[in-house]
Amino acid sequence: MILVIEQLLNGLQYGVMLFLMAAGLTLIFGIMGVINLAHGALYMVGAFVGTWVATETGSFWLGLPAALVAAMVTGVVVEALVVRRLYARDHLDQVLATFALILIFNQLVVLIFGRQPVFTPMPELFSGSLEILPGLFYPMYRLLIIATGLVVAIGLYLLINRTRVGMLVRAGATNRDMVRALGVDIRLLYTLVFGLGALLAGLAGYMTGPILSVQVGMGEQILLATFVVVVIGGLGSVKGALVAGLGLGIVDTMLRAFLPTLLLHFMEPSDAQAVGVGVSAMGIYLLMAIVLLFRPKGLFPAEG
C-alpha cells in the first residue's frame, strides 16, 4: 500500500513538471496559434543559466530568478525576432522555423557551456527525506516541486479568471480574430503570453536540474511528452494541461511500476517483463491515441 502511495506521489511530481511545460505551450498555441517546437529550448536555457549562476554563487536560490529571467528574456527575444513573423503563416512554416531554433539553441549552449552535462546543486534545506506517513519517507525536494506546481496552477487560475489580462487570454484562446477586432494591443498580449510560457519552461528546467541531468538536448526529451499533454488536455486549455499533465504523469509512473508485476500473473516472467516494458514505453502515446479517437479535440477543447 505504501508503495502505491509513493508511486502516486512520484506520478504527481512528474505530472506537475509536465504541467509547467504544457501550460505555456498550450497558451502559446491557443492564443497565437503557433506550434512552438522550441519550447524545450527555453527549458534548457533556464536550466543552464540557473545552474551556472547557482554554481558561481553557491546558492540554489539565486539560480532560480536567474533561470526565470533568462528563459523569459530569451522567450521575448525569440518572439520579437522570429515567432512574430509566423502568426499569419501555416503550421508547417512554424514547425520548420522553430525546429531551426532548436538546432541553433542547442549549438549555442555547446559553444557557451560546453558539451558535458553540468551539476545543479540541491538546496540544502530540501535535501533530506520527510516521513509523510508512518514508514513512507519521501524526498523533500520532490515535495517542493509538487508544491511549486500547485502554486503555479493556482496562480494561473487566478491570473486567467480574475484579471483583465486573463480575460483577454481567455478570449484569445476562444476566438483570436474577435480579440484582434476589438482593438486590443494584441502584439503586447502575444509577447506577454510568450514570455510567461517561457518563464514557466525555465522554471521547470531549473527545478528539474537537481533530479535530472542538465545537458544539451534535454529539451527534446521532454518536448514530445509535453505535446502529448497539450493535445490530450485540449489546445489552449490550461485546465486541460493540468488534468492531462497530472493524469499522464500518474499513468506513466504506474504503468512502469506495476504493469510488469501485474502481467506476471498471466504469462512467463521473461514475456511479462518484455511486454510490460514495451507497453509502458508506448503508454503515453497509446493513451493519447485512445483519447483522440474518442474525443478528437482533447479533453477540454478551448476553441468554441
Binding site: 498555441f29 506550434i35 522570429v82 513573423r85 503550421h91 508547417l92 512554416d93 514547425v95 520548420l96 522555423a97 525546429f99 531551426a100 531554433l101 532548436i102 538546432l103 541553433i104 542547442n106 549549438q107 549555442l108 555547446v110 559553444l111 514530445l224 505535446f227 502529448v228 493535445v231 489546445l235 518484455a274 516494458v277 514495451g278 514505453a281 508506448m282 502515446y285 497509446l286 493519447m288 491515441a289 483522440l292 479517437l293 478528437p296 479535440k297 482533447g298
Partner: protein
Amino acid sequence: MKHLLSAAILLALFIALPFIADAVGQSSLMILGARMLAYAIAAASLNLILGYGGMVSFGHAAFFGVGAYVVGILAYHAGGDPLLGFIPGTNQMLITLPVAMIVSGLVALVIGALSLRTGGVQFIMITLAFAQMLFFFFVSLTAYGGDDGLIISRTNALFGLNMRNRMTLYFVTLVIAVLFFLVLWRIVHSSFGGILAGLRQNERRMSAMGIPAYRYKLVAFVLSGMGVGLAGALEANLLRFASPDMMHWIKSGDLIIMIILGGVGTFFGPIIGAAAFMLLEFYLAGWTEHWPLILGAILLVVVLGTKGGIGGLISRLTGGRT
C-alpha cells in the same frame, strides 16, 4: 511544357551526377546522390498527403523504417531459417521492394484508418504517436539487433547486375526513382489527385458533392506510406543497414523540412528540398563541427525570407517557369 522542362533538367542533372562526381574527384557524391533520390521519393510521397491533401503527418518515418526493416529482415533470413517458421527470406530486389511497399502500405492502412478520424494538430500528434510506438517496438526487438540496428551483409540482387559497383547501384536507384515519379505524376494528375486537392481546400463541399472524404484520404495515406516504404527499402540497400534511428521522430521532421524547403504541394519541390537538405548537411558537417548552428540559421532564413521554399524562389526568379 514547363513541367516537362523541369523534369528534363532534373533528370539530366541526376544522370550527369556520377560523371561530374568522378570528374571533380568527389565520387562519394554517388552514394549521396542515390540517398538523395531515396529521400526525394520519401518526401514526395509524404507531399502527396501533406501538400496536395493537406494532411500533416508527423510520423511518416515509421514507414521509412518499416520498408528498411523488411529488406533487412528478409535478407537476414535469406538462406537461413524461414521467418516465423514459414516465410522464406530473400535477397532479390524484385521481391524485397514490392514486399516493403506492401507491408508499409498495410501499416499505413491501420495507422491511417485510426488517425484520419482526427484532423489538424491532433492529426499531427496522433501520427507522431503511432510512429513513436513503432520506434520503441523496433528498439526493443532484440532478435534483429534492437537499437544497434541490423547489418545487411549484401545489397539485394537484381538481374545478375554487380550491385557492389556503386555506379550500377546508383543507376538502379535512379531508374526506380524515375518509375516512381512517373507513377506519382499519374496519381497527382488523375481525377483522384483532383479530389484530394479539393478535399484540402474544402472538405465540406466535397462531402456535399457525395465524395466519401474519409475513404479518399485513407487511400492517399496508404499510397503515401507505400512510397515512403519504398524509399526506406532503397536506403537500407544503399547503407546495407536498417536501424530504429530511421523511424525516429527527427527523421519525420527531416522529411517535412525537405518538403517545406523545396516547396509544399509542388511536384518537383520535394526533390529539390531533399537534395538541398542533404547537400547542406553533408557540406556543412564537413566544414565545421558547429554545423547545426549554421544549418539552423539557413533554415530560419529560408522559412522567414522565402514564400514556397526554394522551388518558389526559383519559380519567381525565372518568371514562373518551373
